[in-house]
Symmetry: C2
Subunit: 348 residues, 2 copies
């Protein structure tokens, strides 16, 4: 009797999650308000608030490489990427738990470095470490962080709330983290083939910092709070702009048109992309790990967005039938492609 | 310049967690009520309730071996062990998140098996799967589950609440899961050396089921609820009775005396322990993975405990200076030893 063996890559990450969870009962508990399928889940808290929960797993050799990721940065990044998911709900992160599996190659000193990074992030973002698990692993390291936050009812920004004519915005430049990773990978290969070579990364500080030490956009959350601006939809850019646009389009049942010339690119990103012989816009669309917030607002809130620091208006919500398209600098409309699981693999 | 390399095993699991987290600020958020150091953390929910959060990580080759753990059972167990931590706070679990890292050897069909186990547990315990993460891993599988529950303020049972003269109870027999593991390991070795041998595990159904498909003690939680009995302290038996007793003793600043003759052992446990040439009480004290609840009650609640099904009174809370001791069947008081990280390793 032969068993069927379907490769997980045939479904893609998001298809796989849907396939695995679509027969689950979803509201056995009345306190469950929003489950699988957004940046975070929402649970009833009190009459006026939801508790917001998000979780992520990072694995050595997949999400990080200790040849170029200092452990302190890794700890910081593991926290930040989860807080970013909480901010993406227009919520305030308050607590985290950290579970870690480590092989015997890690010393107490190495773990202390990692936890120093976790602590620095906790203090910077004002969140409490409230629990976790520490266990051994046969090989390498896996880190799982859960972040817990709170949002006032009615202020939550889901992926599903974008409406016709809404304005599409992003909180910062895109594509830099992806190029930072390419640079670090290139230097690693060079070092492995010629160990006497000294890495030459001085000109690439910005790109490498965006990869190794990203920040979650607390300032944007605070601006929304202060100006009472509630984005109609929001998501954080972890898998690349294209992928996130497709999430909003699908959840909101809308189409989106993005203007290529409006997509923010740092000068270092533009320069380095050309050195790597990649179109800079491709880094923004398919790169990932930027941890900027992509959000939509009702046109009546345009003034509030205009006064928001470091925000870029990049496109419009249109009818669903239009799909997700890029209005290129050449004046043409190109359909975008969704990316997901293993999209870095595909480009190698 | 040589860097210091201290082996993590020198600190033990609990010492390591303390070492890594003791400089963290603990109450940056006023909503944090109880952080690191109990079965679960407590967060303010509303005037009358706390949200309860617990998280655990399971790693292939450390916590499970797919040679004898069916994936369906593994999914079930990953959920159950986390719900057990919620019940151990005298709280009701309501939601879980599941993060999973998998290597390419796992097919969609294999993952469906795993999620069928997760779903079965969710339905049996009435909890909703509300989120998670699915990612790849260079080798093997890691599973991280976070469970979220709720408890009425004043009904939470912490490790720190045991008082002088309280009665020590446990909800079921101990040591079986440990022997189930020994049996499965023995059969695995036999199979590896003589693949034509058929496993002979029929007589050991109970022990193996306790290892592969444990349950969280929902019935005990419901009995406490119905009878308004609030244990003064509680913990679930995941690392062995001795280890859990030390947690309660340390957190509550008390001593504990356990009567060896009262520690519940299943007849199959007694029989198999002798075949393995192990004192059956050692399996109960140091085995682990029983997922029974160990709790203490005020003597005024003795009647309620007497009518509780499947509960065993095994000892008393005494003054701290007494330490944690076992009153042996031979009539002597023996100091117990705390166990923790890698305690199975030490016995090999």
């Amino acid at each position: 009797m032969s068993k069927k063996h379907t490769d997980v890559n045939t479904l893609g990450e998001f298809g796989l999650i849907e396939h695995l969870t679509d027969t689950f009962k979803t509201h056995q508990q009345s306190s469950t308000f929003l489950g699988v399928g957004d940046d975070a889940a929402l649970i009833e808290r009190d009459d006026k608030h939801y508790t917001v929960i998000s979780t992520d797993m990072m694995v050595e050799g997949i999400h990080f490489d200790l040849m170029y990721s200092p452990l302190k940065h890794l700890g910081y990044k593991a926290v930040v990427t989860n807080l970013s998911d909480i901010y993406a709900m227009n919520a305030k992160p308050e607590q985290i738990t950290v579970s870690i599996a480590i092989s015997s190659k890690y010393s107490v000193e190495a773990l202390s470095e990692l936890y120093t990074g976790i602590k620095t992030a906790c203090e910077f973002y004002g969140v409490d470490l409230i629990g976790g698990d520490t266990t051994s692993s046969p090989k390498g390291m896996a880190l799982s962080v859960t972040a817990i936050g709170v949002v006032e009812k009615g202020k939550e920004s889901l992926r599903s709330g974008a409406k016709m004519d809404d304005i599409v915005c992003v909180t910062g430049d895109l594509g830099a983290a992806y190029l930072g990773l390419q640079l670090l990978e290139r230097e690693k290969q060079l070092y492995l083939s010629q160990p006497e070579t000294q890495p030459d990364l001085e000109e690439a500080t910005y790109l490498i910092e965006r990869q190794l030490k990203p920040e979650a956009n607390k300032a944007a959350y605070e601006y929304f709070e202060k100006t009472k601006l509630v984005p109609t939809s929001m998501i954080d850019v972890s898998d690349g702009l294209a992928s996130e646009l497709f999430h909003i389009a699908k959840s909101s049942k809308v189409g989106i048109i993005i203007e290529e010339s409006k997509v923010p690119l740092h000068p270092d990103t533009q320069e380095m992309a050309l050195k790597f012989n990649i179109d800079p816009i491709t880094c923004a669309l398919n790169g990932g790990e930027d941890y900027e917030l992509l959000f939509t607002v009702n046109p009546k809130d345009l003034e509030k967005v205009r006064y928001m620091p470091d925000v870029f208006i990049i496109g419009d919500i249109v009818e669903e039938a239009n799909g997700v398209k890029l209005f290129s600098t050449g004046g043409k409309l190109h359909p975008m492609k969704a990316q997901g699981w293993n999209h870095f693999e595909a480009e190698k």
